[in-house]
């Protein structure tokens, strides 16, 4: 076994790898934003805060709540930490323009007394660039001044078409006889977050009682749009054909009129008409408008009166059936309302070609039916079955992507035989681009995986309570207690769900990256679930429904995500034990340089020329001898050929001369060269001196010994002697 060298190589070579920047669905620390901070001397947390909405530029967050016992809608400047009151009283359900200047909300406070004389809830818009009248605490514009007086920051959104005054709401309201308490509960309501276009010009809202909003009598449960610039209030949920409002269908209750069920153009979120103020736990009402103001979507009822269905459905479909409806309002009054999804798709080319008049619902539905829609037709329920979560469809910035929650069976995934009680809400997105069939356009994002109200059941089938779509339609945020997702074989977890079901957590789906990230977690780390005081009860959920995260809202870039939660461990210092507004930024990874260190490699095997001289000789026909010499390095190479020749002794007589013949060694040829570089094979050419040419000719060649000498500085000379032979040349004289 070899002994290892213990010392790391001291020298490192450095390799640099510049990687490109990449975005990732990773979120940073959660910040509590329903608190005043920054330049304000005292850090003050809201008593409670709900329904946060982030401005498109990510600078502001508006929310409903209470500071120091003062309730209303508030706006926080995230750069300065300053919190301003938008509207006092029971104002709620804020939406905010992209630059934060305009905030819409619903209140039954008469903020412009000169124009708002009804007692019911109205939708208002506050211009935050205009300061409230000094001393008024933004409670209302003073009566004498009126809306036309410069400086009044409020404007009635739910105003009569062509004017600026709030409508007269007509009764009997659903509860029957008019009373003061009833009058304050019914009127106009706008959805939080998504009621206003990004520029603050358009605001969508719904009615909950009769009014004169359109001039003519306007029934309850209609979707309307206010153009704040032209003062036009127009009907969005037009009746197919007439262009007028969809008339109410009333199912009288035998017990009390209060329990009468009314079915208009828009689903009210339950069996009963919604009242004001909405529950902070179920703050969903109204319709959504896209950021560019081009599109409105709502959960419709009486859909056969609003959109094109199969011929048979058109006349028979139940008024109770709910489906998300969608309309391009920027394309003129004749733009039809379209179904987002549903049990049939009469616009599909295959359906048109088939000539079918109806599709079968329930267990008779078939995904191979050319007219079948993506979801099963549930005659008594429609798309929405739960009253536990958000039922208002949400839109991307240009209105092309619609997100909604549905408990209907998805035919494409084979959910034909599933019993209604097995159905739990799942999140869908639909692409409304032209040319797509509804089946092709619909994508299911979550899949429930079980039943029950036990902890295990909630883990797999907890309700999707709320959701939001980013401006570009690639991000879908949603809240749920569900922790186990089959992920439908496509999404990849970035941050895994909480280890156990409990509080509702906020998740983000990135459709561009196909990733799913759990956004909310305790401040102790990503593994910690959202928590609030509770009593453990093995096997059952210790929390209330809708405890935890709700109400997600994206900034325009999708890189800031606001939400509310009554968890008390999301941000350090949250001490009110109530719902708060939070903001969490997406982590944007800066370009990184990855450094690598690689030490110098070991040297290659040492190869050193031997200190020797190798000589071979080749006799050439031209009488020369070529010496091939391998030398170890640079230096001087020389060679001398010597041979024995006959010489005569110095005697006087010829006789004596014969006996005096002697031998002597004479140099007959020599050469010399200088060698540069690393040595190696060199050649030297020996040519006989002229004096010995005749001798070589006489002898038929001349044998000699060549002594080769190599010398270089610092070494003793190398010397080798080799026999050589000079050929007799053809021209040599004998």
């Amino acid at each position: 076994m070899r002994r290892l060298v213990l010392v790391l190589a001291a020298t490192f070579c450095l390799a640099l790898c510049a990687a490109t920047a990449a975005e990732a669905d990773v979120f940073g620390p959660i910040e509590l934003v329903s608190a005043a901070a920054g330049s304000q001397a005292v850090y003050e947390q809201a008593d409670h805060a709900y329904e946060p909405v982030v401005s498109g530029d990510g600078r502001y967050v508006a929310f409903a709540g209470s500071f120091g016992g003062v309730s209303g809608v508030w706006r926080r400047d995230l750069e300065t930490g300053v919190v301003e009151q938008v509207a006092a009283g029971n104002a709620t359900l804020p939406s905010i323009s992209a630059d934060g200047q305009y905030v819409s909300f619903t209140t039954n406070e008469r903020l412009v007394p000169s124009e708002d004389r009804n007692q019911g809830p109205d939708v208002y818009r506050r211009d935050m660039a205009l300061e409230c009248t000094p001393g008024s605490s933004c409670e209302a514009c003073p009566e004498p001044q009126g809306p036309e007086t410069p400086g009044c920051p409020y404007a009635v959104v739910s105003a009569v078409n062509g004017g600026e005054e709030a409508p007269e709401y007509t009764f009997p309201a659903p509860t029957g006889e008019l009373s003061a308490s009833e009058e304050t509960r019914f009127g106009s309501l706008a959805d939080g977050r998504t009621a206003m276009s990004a520029d603050g010009r358009y605001v969508a809202f719904v009615t909950t009682t009769g009014s004169n909003l359109l001039g003519a009598p306007t029934p309850a449960l209609q979707v309307l749009l206010r153009d704040m610039k032209t003062h036009e209030t127009k009907l969005v949920s037009e009746e197919l054909g007439s262009g007028g409002p969809v008339q109410l269908t009333v199912e009288e209750s035998e017990a009390t009129r209060e329990n009468s069920q009314r079915y208009g153009a828009v689903y009210p979120g339950g069996k009963l008409t919604p009242t004001f103020p909405p529950s902070v736990e179920k703050p969903w009402v109204g319709a959504s408008i896209s950021a560019d103001g081009s599109t409105v979507t709502w959960m419709g009822q009486n859909i056969n009166h609003q959109a094109l269905l199969m011929p048979t459905e058109q006349g028979t479909l139940s008024h109770k059936l709910t489906e998300p409806l969608w309309r391009r309002i920027g394309e003129g009054p004749s733009t039809p309302t379209r179904r987002v999804t549903g049990g049939s798709d009469p616009t599909s080319p295959a359906c048109i070609a088939s000539g079918e008049q109806e599709v079968l619902g329930g267990r008779n539905a078939s995904p191979s039916d050319p007219c079948a829609g993506p979801l099963g037709l549930e005659p008594q329920r429609g798309i929405t079955s739960s009253e536990e979560g958000n039922f208002v469809p949400e839109l991307s910035g240009n209105g092309e992507v619609v997100a909604f929650v549905s408990g209907a069976r998805q035919l494409a995934s084979g959910e034909i035989d599933r019993e209604p009680e097995e159905i739990h809400e799942d999140l869908y997105v639909v692409n409304m681009a032209e040319g797509l069939t509804r089946v092709a356009a619909t994508r299911r994002l979550t899949e429930k995986d079980g039943l029950g109200t036990t902890t295990e059941g909630i883990e797999k089938s907890g309700t999707i309570t709320d959701y939001a779509v980013s401006e570009d339609g690639t991000q879908i945020a949603f809240t749920t207690e569900r922790t186990l997702y089959p992920l439908l074989g496509s999404l990849t977890y970035v941050t895994a769900p909480a280890a156990r079901a409990g509080m509702g957590e906020l998740f983000d789906i990135d459709l561009a990256d196909e990733t799913l990230t759990r956004v909310t977690h305790g401040f102790a780390g990503a593994e910690q679930p959202s928590e609030r005081p509770h009593v453990e009860s093995p096997g059952s959920d210790p929390y209330e429904p809708r405890d935890g995260a709700l109400y997600p809202s994206f900034s325009q870039s999708g890189n800031e995500l606001g939400f509310s939660s009554n968890a008390d461990n999301l941000a350090f210092g949250d001490g009110n034990k109530e719902s708060d507004a939070f903001l969490v930024p997406r982590v944007i990874f800066a370009p990184q340089t990855v450094r690598q260190f690689v030490s110098a490699p070991p040297p290659p095997p040492a190869i050193v020329p031997h200190w020797r001289l190798d000589v071979t000789a080749t006799s050439k026909r031209n009488g020369t001898v070529v010496l091939n010499v391998v030398v170890p390095t640079s230096g001087t190479l020389s060679a001398t050929a010597r041979t024995a020749v006959r010489v005569l002794a110095r005697v006087s007589s010829i006789r004596a001369r014969r006996g005096r013949e002697a031998l002597a060694t004479r140099a007959v040829a020599s050469a010399k060269t200088s060698i540069k570089g690393d040595g190696g094979l060199q050649t030297l050419t020996l040519t006989l001196s002229h004096a010995y040419l005749s001798l070589a000719a006489h002898r038929g060649g001349l044998a000699a010994a060549a002594t080769v000498t190599f010398s270089t500085a610092g070494h003793a000379a190398l010397r080798v002697s080799v026999p050589v032979s000079f050929h007799r040349t053809a021209g040599a004289r004998r």
């Binding site: 076994m1 640099l16 990687a19 490109t20 690689v598 290659p604 006996g659 080799v722």
Partner: protein, 645 residues
């Protein structure tokens, strides 16, 4: 899509003679990177790595091949699969052959009429030698449950045979097997054999189907190794009836299984070990000798001083009976941290010389244990510390000595990187800290081994959503060289040397003949060289072979003698006193005496000897002419003048 595929080298060009090359980013950083599956290398240096990447939102299996020292663009493997893949693993054989297995759902089943579970199958696909895409997927196992904890281990030899071991958690049967331990599951450890074209299921190998198994984790996953003759060995964790989890092994003979053999120690110094053994690692030598390393937990009352790595070997059956393991011994008695020491999963390798190399996280310090089948010889700390908990590491043995070690660590600035250390046969060392993508934490480190000391090091780096697949290579010099040179004296024209192609994972090799320290070029592809006669003077020369791989690493053979005689015999004439001349014929290669003829120049001549004494009748100068020849055939006519008094 934000993914940026970085396949070209963004790094500095490899330095000459580099052996650890800087890492390259194979894919990413991208949110589409969905997991890393492993890396494999064949003896000839080809190989590949496998990972998961989402296409249209669905995780698919991708492979980047490694050919001729370069990583090629990733190709999709599971092209015919509709659903998401998981658990990809890869094996490599010579000539670029690759084998990949993975799990994918194909159906759903209902459990207790409530929970709907996917039913996965284990599939495999082969990329044949010379092919550029994978063939049709074949079913390895049609039902592996919901692929919960499958953790397959795939081993392939250079001839294209492979074994895979994997787990199948039986949710439906959970109630039928009493849980010995909280969280236990009903589980089968199954093995399948790939014979080159088709898969054969060998069934479950765990010894007792009635005993619950530990909940599947990466640390208790089964492992498998296969030798060149398809003799393999599978090791797994399984509790005894007492409930203590031990390590067990079975030989795999192609399509048949051997009997179950206990691997882990049940006692130490006479005291029972009642703590759990896990994290088995297995390697098998060319001759079939197997070595298993595993981790033994510590608990109060244990005879161990703390958690330890044990090592055990199964002889090859030739030198000793290979019927049972020799007996588990503590690999490293001296571990810092006492009873609370953090011991990482071991990685073990063995070579045909029965030498063993083991790497593990010894309480945060990477530690290599070297030894043989008889004893542990040396334990050496390596360098930069481990980072991250339960970090995987990998060790690769060089049969010529030393090896490669890789483990997750950090740079001096605290940035995550993979530490790589290569110990060379000549005891020199090269170290590196490699990283890629956009940086970030290291995950799923794996090393593919050629068996010749080379390693492909691959890992996933970066957090999910910004992860990249990164690969580096650490190559070994060409294996020992064999040079054939003529024996005895030869003429220069006979000086031809030859050599067989040495084993190297980094070919093609280039050669030089080193003659007396001078390098002579060898034409590409040649395995012999006739040495230029001009370089061969008479005498003894030293000749060696120098082989250089594509990474610039060289191996020099031991010197051979080359005895050259290229001239006719030498003739010396001396006076023997008076009128006597002594004529002596000599040659390095020896004189062919019977071929010697001499004419003394006075009318007399002689032949058949190498030494002559001739007396001249009259003084004078005479020319002696000789015809001479030596034993290698050098012949000539030599003339000499002699003066006689």
């Amino acid at each position: 899509m934000l993914a940026t595929v970085v396949l070209t080298l963004l790094l500095m060009a490899p330095v000459a003679h580099a052996v650890i090359l800087p890492a390259v980013t194979i894919d990413g950083p991208s949110p589409d990177i969905a997991g890393f599956g492993g890396v494999a290398m064949a003896e000839d240096g080809t190989g590949g790595l496998v990972y998961m990447k989402k296409v249209d939102g669905v995780a698919h299996v991708f492979v980047s091949r490694y050919l001729e020292g370069h990583w090629l663009a990733p190709i999709m493997v599971d092209t015919s699969d509709q659903f998401a893949a998981s658990w990809p693993r890869i094996g490599a054989a010579d000539d670029g052959e690759l084998l990949v297995v993975w799990a994918t759902p194909f159906a759903t089943e209902h459990e207790n009429n409530e929970i709907e579970r996917p039913v996965d199958e284990l599939e495999g696909a082969m990329l044949a030698p010379g092919a550029s895409s994978f063939g049709e997927a074949a079913i390895v196992d049609p039902d592996i449950g919901d692929a919960d904890g499958t953790s397959p281990s795939l081993a392939m030899n250079s001839t294209g045979q492979a074994d895979v071991v994997y787990r199948v958690v039986e949710h439906g049967a959970a109630n039928a097997v009493p849980a010995l331990h909280a969280g236990d599951v009903a589980e089968q450890v199954r093995v399948a054999h790939f014979g080159g074209f088709r898969w054969t299921q060998l069934g479950a190998v765990n010894r007792n189907a009635g005993i619950s198994m530990r909940s599947p984790t990466a640390e208790d996953a089964p492992q498998i190794a296969i030798g060149p003759t398809s003799k393999g060995i599978v090791v797994w964790q399984e509790p005894e009836i007492s409930g203590v989890a031990r390590i067990w092994a079975r030989r795999v003979f192609g399509s048949s299984l051997g009997y179950v053999m206990p691997v882990s120690a049940t006692s130490l110094g006479g005291a029972a070990i009642v703590t759990e053994a896990d994290a088995p690692s297995v390697a098998v030598s060319l001759t079939g000798q197997a070595v298993v390393a595993y981790r033994q937990a510590y608990a109060h009352g244990s005879p161990l001083p703390g958690p330890r790595i044990f090592i055990n070997d199964l002889p090859d059956g030739e030198s000793e009976k290979g019927l049972e393991f020799s007996g588990a011994v503590v690999a490293d008695a001296t571990v810092a941290g006492g009873t609370a020491a953090k011991i990482g999963p071991p990685s073990v390798d063995i070579d045909e010389h029965r030498e063993v190399r083991l790497l593990y996280d010894s309480d945060g310090a990477p530690s290599v244990v070297e030894g043989n089948d008889k004893s542990v010889l040396e334990t050496v700390p390596l360098g930069p510390l481990f980072s991250g908990g339960e970090a995987p590491s990998a060790s690769v043995m060089n049969p010529s000595g030393g090896g490669i070690s890789a483990w997750p660590s950090t740079t001096p600035a605290g940035v995550p990187a993979v530490a790589v250390r290569e110990d060379f046969p000549d005891e020199s060392v090269q170290t590196a800290l490699v990283a890629g993508g956009a940086g970030g934490p290291i995950d799923e480190l794996a090393v593919g081994r050629s068996g010749l000391g080379d390693g492909l090091i691959a890992f996933q780096q970066g957090i999910t959503g910004n992860a990249a697949i990164v690969a580096a290579q650490a190559t070994a010099p060409p294996a020992e060289l064999l040079l054939s040179a003529p024996k005895g004296w030869i003429k220069p024209s006979q000086a031809t040397v030859s050599w067989p192609t040495p084993q190297s994972a980094n070919g093609p090799l280039t050669y030089h003949i080193v003659l007396d320290g001078h390098q002579l070029e060898v034409p590409p592809g040649a395995n012999s060289l006739r040495i230029d006669s001009r370089r061969l003077s008479n005498g003894t020369h030293e000749v060696q072979l120098l082989a250089t791989d594509i990474d610039g690493q060289s191996t020099l053979s031991s010197p051979s003698e080359l005895q050259v005689d290229g001239t006719p015999p030498n003739v010396t004439v001396s006076r023997g006193g008076g009128s006597v001349a002594v004529v002596r014929v000599s040659a390095l290669a020896g004189v062919e005496s019977h071929a010697v003829q001499v004419n003394f120049g006075d009318g007399h001549s002689a032949r058949g000897r190498a030494l002559y004494r001739h007396r001249y009748a009259h003084p004078g100068v005479y020319q002696i002419v000789l015809r001479v020849r030596d034993k290698v055939g050098n012949a000539g006519v030599v003339r000499r003048l002699v003066k006689v008094r």
